[in-house]
Amino acid sequence: MPGVVQALQALQALQAEILIPGPATNGEALVLAAPISFWGGIDPFTAAVIDARHPDRGRNIAGKVLALPGTIGSSSASAVLLELVRTGLAPAAIILHEPDAILLLGLIVAREMGWQTPMALKLDRVVQSRLTGQITIDAQGRITPARPDTPPA
């Protein structure tokens, strides 16, 4: 019943605003339960959440479609994200409630360095909470549940 599946997917599709463009991607959704500071909150060498007070401590953001309900500004957040991009441990995509220019600077610089850069999208934190399981994002920022035959990124 492919028609039914497509109809369901259409119902669940979300259109996000593109903050930093990038190639289409897919991955497992990881919606953080609380705002995070990348500096001091994410290990730049392993991509693990290391903030001792964060509810998602121990999860790993590498390769995930990472949804952030909020970010806590640190001047060095961009450095952590840039290091993750360089070593291939960046999220598959980053979804923000509102733009964080300091964090996204890590992606802007990564692109200037010619490194493969994940896209960044803007999506309300209430809507973010609906993201679950494997999801696909096309280059226009349309978010859908991944089709069963889509291999992980």
Binding site: F45, A79, A101, L105, V109, E112
Partner: protein, 419 residues
């Protein structure tokens, strides 16, 4: 949408280092919602502190592409003490990459200041000047005490602004965003306490916790406040809450009176008044210590922000020839070290177990011995970052109490407990 001038567009379309820097500034402006770029007169660069190889490769790419700073640019601390006063335990590749990072920034024409207190090393933009500064304490001092205008420019954007001489026109560059919306009233606090050095990091910590990133004006302070005290206040406020601009009625240049600081009759309403009580002060002070019950200390660290020459001289006066039982790490800039070398102060202090730390500091690079120790400090900023970054427990006290404690090896709280 950010609109660029013809000249800016032309530069961004190029292939050299200036082009890369202009694209980074323009993209940041777009994300910040800035309508345009504005010229900036100077920069203070925080990007030369090693956080991983990516930062080094970026800086070296800019050098390879011929990037040079277009405006005065001073350097914040790096991960290594290039003056050789102290030794970081960074080794191997990390040490090499940290050194290459520092040299790349020097190669782009940045001044070798290597201090988090550039405003005490001769870099003092004047009232109303737009600049692009990084390092949270320097940003707070620059906006609040000098009255120059800057947002907080973090890693990579700081050097891009220095190369292009441009910054996104938004935030604290715009006068309408600089007015205080909250009054922080200290009239109920003992003026004798307010006239002590150690009051100011505590007050700054409370201010930062209460204000977050909102702009506040302190009222009820009588008499002049020294620059070193304003430095300590701003650093504590910035690390405790993200404060980038504060006003103090009668002290800071944009607050000759309360009405001016809050924007006058035409401004929007105040969002609140905080009446500071002695109990709030005691709670803020208690929160700075994580090892309050310690019966011994392993080290003392002072100098965040970097010590001024006057502060370093006061160390000598307070020790008055007594050798410390535990090492005193005194962090400062080379602008102070040069003077201290000239007068013999550095050698005299080193004989008393004071370790001068230049170009860097003990919470950004591993200088303290790797032990499960207790650190005593008079700095609100060290107190905030030392537990996470060094693993040491912290006891907070005044400069005099820190030095007495270093002499005896036990926490001495002669003056720090009283309000």
């Amino acid at each position: 949408m950010t609109s660029l001038s013809d000249e800016e567009r032309l530069i961004a379309a190029g292939t050299d280092g200036s082009a890369m820097a202009m694209r980074i500034v323009a993209e940041s402006a777009r994300l910040l919602g800035a309508p345009r770029l504005l010229p900036v007169a100077s920069a203070h660069i925080d990007g030369a502190l090693y956080h991983g190889d990516a930062g080094t490769l970026f800086a070296e790419e800019l050098v390879r592409l011929g990037a040079r700073t277009a405006i005065r640019a001073t350097l914040n601390v790096g991960a290594l003490d290039l003056m050789g006063c102290s030794k970081s335990r960074l080794t191997g590749s990390d040490r090499d990459m940290a050194k290459r990072l520092m040299l790349a920034y020097e190669a782009m024409g940045c001044e070798r200041t290597w201090t988090c207190a550039p405003y005490q090393a001769g870099h003092r933009p004047t009232l109303g000047t737009d600049v692009a500064w990084g390092e949270s304490n320097a940003v707070a001092f620059c906006n609040s005490v000098l009255g120059a205008r800057t947002n907080r420019y973090g890693d990579y954007l700081d050097i891009a602004c220095a190369i292009t001489g441009r910054a996104p026109d938004c935030g604290l560059h715009r006068p309408e965003n600089r007015r205080a919306t909250v009054v922080f009233d200290v009239a109920a606090i003992d003026p004798v306490w307010l006239a002590s050095d150690w009051a100011w990091p505590v007050l700054g910590t409370l201010f930062g916790r209460e204000l977050g990133t909102a702009i506040g004006v302190v009222s009820g302070v009588a008499g002049p406040v020294s620059e070193d005290r304003l430095k300590a206040f701003g650093a504590a406020a910035a690390s405790a809450g993200g404060v980038g601009l504060f006003h103090i009625v009668g002290i800071t240049p944009e607050a000759p009176d309360l009405a001016t600081a809050t924007g006058g009759a035409d401004a929007g309403p105040l969002t609140g008044t905080i009446m500071v009580t002695p109990a709030m002060i005691r709670a803020a002070q208690a929160g700075l210590s994580t090892a309050a019950g310690a019966t011994r200390i392993d080290a003392v660290a002072i100098g965040s922000p970097h010590l001024s020459l006057e502060e370093l001289e006061s160390v000598s006066q307070l020790l008055s020839g007594r050798t410390a039982r535990v090492p005193i790490y005194a962090c400062t800039g080379r602008h102070v070290v040069r003077e201290a070398d000239r007068t013999g102060l550095r050698k005299a202090l080193e004989r008393l177990n004071v370790i001068i730390v230049a170009d860097t500091c003990v919470v950004v690079t591993p200088i303290l011995p790797a032990i499960d120790g207790v650190l005593m400090t008079n700095s609100g900023k060290f107190a905030h970052y030392a537990p996470g970054n060094t693993g040491y427990g912290v006891v907070y006290g005044s400069m005099a109490d820190c030095l007495e404690s270093a002499v005896t090896g036990r926490p001495v709280m002669a003056e720090s407990g009283v309000i």
